[in-house]
Symmetry: C2
Subunit: 289 residues, 2 copies
């Protein structure tokens, strides 16, 4: 990829938290491809239009973004990395606006819901639903509207679009982190990997899940995530997603191979450097040149 | 409860799928207490205003309704039963309307999303978002509007509010089932129970989940559901919910007692008759007199 810039697709506009995740993991020298929906995001990398997709997969308050787990299973893409972003919401207005002048505050419904205390303490402010956090900043600055309008989005969105940050960190809960996975059409290098993500199904029998976890427990291999999703067409049957910690060339890889024998459907979604515990700050290993 | 009617709270209006679940499990001789939000639904039974709450907990296509798992953990209520409802969406209009006259179709966004094929085949119909399936039928019949309006809801909603069913079963997927739990302030009788729901947390150590499942696997006790949710304030740590099959006075109960020793946080959410596999049709054991 020397000389050419990595094309990185995200869901949302420039300055979205996904953009922050993309920069954190791949550096600033990327070409961003904003997409309006998650389906379009996955399609962008599957079709070759983008080199990578940066996909939110779970939030420390809200939990897993299940639809994206379903999409991971449906498409033959590979997880090649992960990162986490500390979600800090800012109140952003047009240059010249002051906090006292604001009456209406637009943002994505999830962002509005994460700032309930902010609104409860300021009954003069009316929350307005928008399609995207960063998009609500773009809308704000695009028109020559009054200075009574503001938006809730990341600091990056304010910087990129020329908005003024009136308040920082207005979310209810400071422990608000989103975990993102980085998708590619090709597998990541085995040597650099310290985490493996797997999707599988099991026979409907007592102890099936217990036996599926045995290969990991007996080798002291750590599972850091387990997720279940409904199996379409088989009522109250489930597909499991697990994240396994450890070098895939060692005991972790042996345990995965053993699970493959026990499972019905089975696929490794990817092996990649741990971006959550490995280096603490969640910054990525794969910087674009 | 002889002589007095059981007061049963649901989220949504009369004729909502929750109403169908309430009737299926508790019979028709109940006094229904419609509530507009899930918080109000849980509060109705916690406060004593209602005797039971009927709560949707998972759907065979969409998966778990996670916010309701969180509410189960937060409040000291007991699951005393469960039932399932086959979600069959109907196109409902005012008496006198015909399919050819309809232009706008209102319903809850989830119901609209489950009828994408219906709309794709009929481009003349505009989907309109409403707060509730049965509520959109009530709105339709309340005003003297034109016969160009319709709603998507259950057949029961049409019957209760005097709407005409123009089409039945317009959902994309026929295997669309929702599972409901029935909540009470008091525990259900142990003698009648064949299922136990538990919530617990574990130490963050390799093999912790494997060891937690061992008491069940070694006794051939079947786990029919496992669900994980984020633990607030402890980033990337989880709380687990499991459903255990079997008489709580036998091996299933022994396994639960053993898990209690291994877990950190631990609570039995309830023991109740299996309403999914036990009697096939999902009809309940607790009929109101």
């Amino acid at each position: 990829m020397k000389g050419t810039r990595l094309i990185v697709a995200i869901q949302g506009e420039r300055g979205a938290f996904s953009h922050e995740a993309a920069r954190r993991h791949l550096g600033e020298a990327i070409e961003l491809l904003p997409r309006s929906t998650f389906d379009a995001l996955f399609a962008a990398v599957a079709s070759g239009e983008a080199d990578r997709a940066v996909v939110p997969i779970e939030n420390s308050l809200v939990g897993s973004i299940h639809e994206n787990y379903d999409r991971l299973r449906a498409l033959p893409l590979h997880i090649v990395g992960e990162t986490q972003v500390h979600v800090r919401h800012c109140l952003i207005a047009r240059p010249g606006a002051t906090l006292a002048s604001i009456r209406r505050v637009a943002s994505h419904p999830v962002a509005l819901a994460q700032c309930t205390r902010f609104f409860a303490e300021r009954p003069q402010l009316e929350p307005v639903t928008a399609y995207d956090t960063a998009g609500s900043v773009m809308d704000l600055l695009r028109r020559d509207g009054p200075v009574t309008q503001a938006a809730i989005a990341s600091k990056l969105a304010a910087q990129l679009h020329g908005g003024t940050v009136l308040l920082e960190g207005i979310q209810d809960d400071t422990e608000n982190y989103t975990r993102f996975v980085i998708l590619s059409r090709e597998e990541g290098p085995l040597e650099a990997a310290s985490k493996t993500s797997i999707v599988f199904t099991l026979a409907d029998a007592p102890g099936a899940l217990y036996r599926a976890l045995a290969p990991f427990a007996l080798r002291h291999v750590d599972l850091v995530k387990i997720e279940s999703r409904p199996l379409r067409g088989q009522r109250w049957q489930y597909v499991f997603y697990i994240d396994v910690l450890g070098d895939p060339r060692g005991p972790a890889g042996e345990a995965v191979a053993e699970l493959r024998q026990l499972a019905q459907e089975f696929r490794v979604l990817g092996h990649y450097p741990d971006g959550i515990r490995g280096n603490g700050d969640g910054s990525g290993a794969e910087k674009a040149s």
